[in-house]
Symmetry: C2
Subunit: 346 residues, 2 copies
DNA sequence: TTCTTTCGTGAACACGTGTTTACAAAACAT
DNA sequence: ATGTTTTGTAAACACGTGTTCACGAAAGAA
């Protein structure tokens, strides 16, 4: 392990200046004249010298590293989405000369697991952390914010919570569902049901709120038996329809699914019961999953720009790191209806 | 930014011992008696103290961080595979208390791009790096190994290259293709063609070697016009078949594709020309892509265990980091034939 | 020319930790 | 009771860098 033997002292000796001057050259101090600067730079380039990061950080500089924490509650989300989220964060960070430390949280209720996360922050491995897939108001995240760490959260919204160092980016789930209801009403639907997602996550309650508001706005009654629980998974969509059919109640003419996976599950169950889509039942999803344009029929859904979201969040995080004064942001991003073949005018 | 105000000196004062003793407690020195240890640990826990990583590294400890470099030559590989590779590395590293810094290399021929990679190594941000998607004998990787950095490479094989600090894990592409030929010969095929992958990558030449060897072993002639170039992408499989059909030469009765994507492209082109699979043409792929069991017909292919590969590679990398003596490994992993519906006895 | 200001740079200190050295106190052996 | 080993801990140094402070040299002003 003979590497890393070159340091700023050696560079200083070779260039015939003091170590301070080397440091000034590296950090672009204007006081050093061009002749000296070039003399030092020549040696630096020749010896492939890069300042040691640990020493720089110890001396007060930033790590230039962002932690990316992906919370995966049981369900393995090995789909293309998390890949895109990750790529977007990495590329955006990279463009600002920042690095990304990726970490997977298998179970955010396991003390051992969250201790590992706290360790990363307290050890000073990262300047800030981004959490993906967190429940609303996850205690250990609140604790980190309370300790003064900079935290970015995706798809979460805590009304009234605008503390320093909390950067929140969310999609406008509420307005999305309202738009979905508007669209279905425009197709003459009056009996509209919903399969929601996990109510502990932000998107669940938000979508519920939107549904209630929109139905009330159109003067339509709310049938409790058509508001089905789910957890954002395909299986839960399947189970919701199964339960609904087996309960024997009249079916709605349209269903809003919390996301495309749920919609796929529901479509499978509906197919098995001989309910034709969109002839007998219109269905609308969320997220514009890659498979949505391959399903049978092609799924009408809402397109959400994950790349835009993560890029914006990452830039805001970097701003928070570099600004001394405390920084907080709460951005809501609209989604866009993509009309395909799963809804029909009645 | 009031955090991180707690350090080992404070802990020492609060526990009524010297800073050295605190350090000894943290690093599990046997010389400190249980009473003292407990006294110190109590304060450490109470104040949520974690040693500062930068200071530890500066004092000689390891970063406990592995760089994961994903080389993406133009083609965006946003598929499930890279996600699994990443997850496997992170989980394995995490189990040994190591962290992963993920970096995307958009173009490994761009000097700016490779300078960014070198910077990560030379700054001491990582103890070792893993490269995914590298060409054989990529110059900047060789340079890093030459500098004494620990490097892990996936799916590469440089005969005779067993230098220290080079950890190579590859699938046995050569034997895989030989097995494929054996299987097809067992189905009475004699006219066997191949659509290969990028010859600059390891898997390309290895598969070609295997093909030549196996055909010769069975005493079958090598038809040069049936050995088609490709680059591991769906499009290249499509183009290969298009070219073959348009050239007017007699078609083989079976084709070995470099991977499943290539096979899918080939199947699409064959379908467009009215060639039925497997009736008129048998086809066999590699990698057991998630879509392979959904294609029409379901694709016979070779299953490769990426998780096993990355996990093994990561563990070996950690061994190299922690062992003082130089370490090198070159592991070849077999693949397993998965028979589905795309090959037929003639 | 002499005094003042600007410019350039070296010396010294700080950051937080691991480790080596040295030394006192306790335990043991005679 | 005295000499010897063991045990536990404190003080000092090292790691590589950024930054402050002070000071000499050069440039400008009177």
């Amino acid at each position: 392990m003979k590497k890393q033997e070159i340091n700023s002292t050696k560079i200083a000796q070779l260039a015939g200046v003091s170590r301070s001057t080397v440091s000034r050259v590296i950090n672009n101090y204007p006081s050093v004249p061009p002749s000296t600067r070039e003399k030092v730079m020549k040696v630096i380039r020749e010896y492939n010298y890069f300042p040691n990061m640990s020493a720089q950080v110890l001396a007060g500089k930033k790590m230039r590293t962002i932690g990316l924490f992906m919370i995966e509650k049981g369900h393995v989300s090995s789909d293309a989405t998390s890949n895109m989220l990750l790529a977007s964060v990495i590329e955006t960070a990279s463009s600002k000369d920042y690095y990304v430390l990726t970490h997977i949280i298998r179970d955010s209720r396991d003390p051992e697991s969250i201790n590992g996360v706290k360790e990363i922050f307290y050890q000073g491995r990262i300047d800030a952390g981004i959490f993906i897939g967190a429940d609303n108001h996850e205690p250990f995240i609140e604790e980190l914010i309370g300790e003064g760490f900079i935290v970015g959260i995706v798809d979460q919204h805590l009304p009234g919570r605008h503390e320093a160092n909390r950067i929140v980016y969310s999609f406008d789930n509420e307005k999305g569902v309202m738009q979905a209801v508007d669209y279905l009403v425009g197709l003459n639907h009056k009996n509209i049901g919903m399969i929601n997602g996990d109510m502990k996550r932000f998107a669940g309650p938000a979508k519920y709120e939107g549904f209630v508001k929109a139905m009330s706005h159109h003067g339509l009654p709310l049938h409790e038996e058509w508001i089905l629980p789910g957890d954002f998974n395909r299986r839960s969509g399947y189970a919701a329809i199964q339960g609904l059919v087996q309960s024997g109640v009249k079916l709605p003419t349209a269903i809003i699914a919390a996301n495309d996976s749920v919609a796929f599950g529901a479509m499978k169950a509906l197919g098995e019961h001989g309910v034709a889509i969109p002839e007998d039942m219109s269905i609308i999803g969320f997220d514009d999953h890659v498979l949505s344009s391959y399903s049978q029929p092609k799924l009408t859904t809402f397109k959400v720009d994950f790349g835009y979201m993560m890029s914006g969040l990452t830039l805001e995080i970097i701003k928070a790191i570099e600004n001394h004064h405390d920084h907080h942001v709460n951005v809501t991003i609209p989604m866009e209806l993509v009309v395909r073949d799963s809804c029909k005018k009645i």
